[in-house]
């Protein structure tokens, strides 16, 4: 057990959650984070889907890393990722139909998410399966956290609700408050994401040095 949770393995999981966050620090995969974060629920489902796919594609690639012909390795990685994405998308259609409609093409587009290919190429190709799995999980959740933050802010300010439940009281609206229509537009997601990265970097200023 000691090797399973060794320092390196723990770091593979925890680093991408904060100090090496794929969105905030590596600035990867922001395209989908802009498109699916107008509400919290699709943002969460998207984040969890990506976490599952990065974890398992890392695991699979790491397992077969010694057999993959070097010249076609990107294609092999793509096939594995595409297969996993298709499976997740079929599961969403079967068990979370309304969310899968909301996410529409963005589930399929996980295939092109830079985080996935980045982790496969940079980590899974030369690490053991367990470490790769943790690394994938960490990066996926690091992505999910940022999505959830942006999704929550956009839903509160854009619709006054969280996960579909109205949380801003009706009295506030009667007093003249209005939902901010800008918040539901993708452009606002980019600005919010910028703010999240800004806050994140100023908090971590010390540690980065």
């Amino acid at each position: 057990m000691s090797t399973l949770f060794s320092k390196e393995n723990k770091e593979a999981f925890t680093k991408p959650l904060n100090l090496d966050n794929p969105i905030a620090v590596q600035v990867l995969g922001i395209c989908s984070s802009l498109a699916v974060t107008s509400q919290l629920k699709p943002a969460l489902v998207m984040g969890i889907s990506v976490a599952i796919i990065t974890a398992f594609s890392n695991l699979v690639i790491s397992l077969i890393r010694n057999t993959i012909p070097n010249r076609v390795r990107i294609i092999v990685q793509l096939v594995v990722v595409a297969a996993l994405v298709t499976i997740v998308s079929m599961f969403l259609k079967a068990y979370l139909y309304d969310v899968s409609v909301q996410l529409s093409v963005y589930v399929g587009l996980i295939i092109t998410n830079c985080i996935l290919m980045g982790r496969l190429e940079a980590f899974a190709m030369n690490h053991t399966p367990w470490a790769s799995f943790l690394d994938g999980l960490g990066n996926g959740f690091g992505y999910a956290i940022i999505l959830a933050i942006v999704g929550a802010i956009r839903e509160i300010l854009g619709a006054g609700s969280i996960l579909g439940f109205q949380i801003l009281p009706q009295g506030l609206y009667d007093a003249g408050y209005m939902n901010n229509g800008m918040m539901v537009m993708p452009a606002m997601a980019l600005i919010l994401l910028g703010c999240v990265i800004w806050v994140h970097r100023s908090i971590n200023k010390e540690e980065k040095k």
Binding site: N66, R71, A83, M90, A94, Y97, D98
Partner: protein, 234 residues
């Protein structure tokens, strides 16, 4: 790269065999998952469609487990008619005939005959093009075939916050009670936001989403035109 099996992983033969095996394995895996999950996702698609038809009949906000029962209670038949108004399939099963007709089919026309609070209503499916992708909907017509009872619209990829507002009740409820036909032989439609001249047959479009509004209008004209014979019979 290290190589445990002593095979030359960079040889052409190895690459070909490797790729072939990988693709076959993945194909079988996907086919298996698809086959296992298909009944479940088909049921979801069917329920979603019933939900949309009921929404056109102003039966909104149902929970998922109520939809099938409500649909069975409200819908009497899902007929298929042709452009001359002749009934091709009588649709007594409620969800096997008109319900199964593909949205792109322009010769087999589904008509859902419904009973809401004892009054007969007809629901006609609509499909067309929005600004970015397909849009579709259902329009419920009163028994007199002259007035609109309700409408429902949905879209695949219209702009969030603008064109996407066609799924909101606020836009859809505008259709309730409109005259189905205009004096110059057209159908109830949508005009650019703020330019309604005849409130009995025109709905106000969405501000900032003129292209989507025009798309909804074209969809109404194109689809209802095919039902002309049906709508002319009393």
């Amino acid at each position: 790269m290290e190589n445990k099996k002593g095979l030359n992983t960079n040889g052409n033969g190895y690459i070909l065999v490797y790729s072939a095996v990988l693709v076959v394995v993945v194909a079988f895996l996907l086919a298996f998952v698809y086959a296992v999950l298909k009944p479940k996702s088909d049921a979801n698609v069917e329920m979603d469609k019933k939900h949309q038809i009921l929404a056109a009949l102003n039966i909104r906000g149902l929970e998922n487990d109520q939809i099938a029962d409500k649909y069975a209670a409200v819908i009497v038949k899902d007929e298929v008619i042709d452009v001359n108004g002749k009934v091709i399939k009588d649709g007594s099963s409620k969800d096997k005939d008109g319900f199964m007709v593909d949205r792109s089919d322009t010769t087999n026309l589904p008509v859902y005959i419904c009973k809401v609070d004892g009054a007969t209503k007809y629901v006609v499916p609509l499909s067309g093009k929005g600004l970015w992708g397909p849009i579709w909907g259902y329009i419920a017509i009163n028994e007199d075939k002259q007035t609109v009872y309700g409408a429902y619209f949905n879209h695949e990829s219209e702009t969030a916050g603008l064109g996407a507002l066609i799924v909101e009740d606020k836009f859809q409820l505008e259709f309730n009670g409109k005259q189905l036909r205009t004096s110059d032989g057209k159908f109830v439609g949508v005009v650019k936001n703020g330019t309604v001249k005849d409130a009995s047959t025109q709905c106000d479009g969405i501000s900032g989403a003129t292209k989507t509004s025009v798309g909804v209008n074209n969809m109404l004209q194109d689809c209802l035109k095919r039902y002309k014979a049906f709508l002319n019979t009393k």
